[in-house]
Symmetry: C2
Subunit: 167 residues, 2 copies
DNA sequence: CAGGTCGGTCCGGATATCCAACGCAGTAGG
DNA sequence: CCTACTGCGTTGGATATCCGGACCGACCTG
């Protein structure tokens, strides 16, 4: 593969972006933590599921905890890092509910009593993060919104991080 | 594939869960909307990128808009549904920054002036959505956290939607 | 002992991905 | 006119990944 934009999103997706990985997380959050149950609920081939679990454990998203020796059996639990991914699943589910699924197969209530509607907000001001309300600052030369330039183009306007409004 | 839990997350991932799909969205949000630039920035094979773009357009996440006839050229713009996925990317990026990447290649500022830290909150009460603060209600029989049961198990405690606390 | 559960691994075939090369339409320069 | 170059793909063939199902060892249950 040619060299791509350096990016934390791509890095994150290298861990949780493979097929079934996020569905494993879904099951774990639902409390389903055993191999057999995941196979049933996700509908993934057993060897693929085994590979995903290995990867998620090695990446520190899940941890393997013995719930029985003799026979030695493990369950998979989310780590702190893993729990931080709940928001991603909420947003995906909500998006699916809104645009794809007929009637939502699962409904959530928040602790406040209301049916859960998740909104992404800014931790500083508390207001929703909306298209056009953010500015991106690119820290690496040549990787602004224009894309990789041949390293020595129009010598002007280079050298400092470029920026762009999102939307 | 065996039958899996009915789930909006899975439905959503069927659209945006394939390799490179979310990276396409990333580029589009950065303002990069042409095929050639995406190929460079994402580092994806051209045929795969073409396939992803087709899929995202047909799913209503992107729309193809001509920016020149003669030669006929199109750019890809996010639809309203597409824009709703920004939150997912913010969370993934933040997670990657926190747990994977050394120094973030891109930094964001919110409109309020502060560096952006995205938090998922409940639209009703405004408080953060955290592990343990939500309850899931399963609308389809047999698909609670226990997983698919053989349809006629212990006849008790069936028929009504089960529920579970997340975490 | 026979049968069942749990957590995998292994196998051969189907599918998807990858990469380089090509096509095609138009534009720019000479 | 001829050549070169750009933008946006498509095509073909090698490679990687996924798939379903069979199989396995360790254990428990009757």
């Amino acid at each position: 593969m040619a060299e791509a934009r350096p990016c934390s999103i791509a890095d994150a997706l290298a861990i949780v972006g493979e097929k079934y990985s996020l569905l494993v997380l879904r099951e774990v959050f639902f409390g389903v933590r055993r191999f057999e149950a995941m196979v049933r609920n996700i509908g993934a081939p057993r060897d693929i599921l085994a590979a995903r679990l290995r990867r998620l454990v090695e990446a520190g998203v899940l941890e393997k905890v013995a719930y029985s020796r003799r026979p030695l059996r493990h369950e998979y639990r989310p780590t702190a890092a893993g729990l931080e991914l709940q928001g991603v699943l909420h947003l995906l589910r909500q998006w699916g509910d809104r645009h794809l699924t007929g009637t939502p197969p699962v409904v959530f209530d928040h602790a406040c009593g209301a049916p859960l509607e998740a909104v992404v907000t800014c931790a500083s001001c508390g207001r929703p993060v909306e298209p056009g309300s953010q500015t991106a600052h690119f820290q690496v030369e040549g990787w602004g919104m224009g894309g990789r330039r041949p390293a020595d183009e129009t010598a002007e306007a280079q050298s400092s991080p470029s920026q762009a409004v999102l939307g």
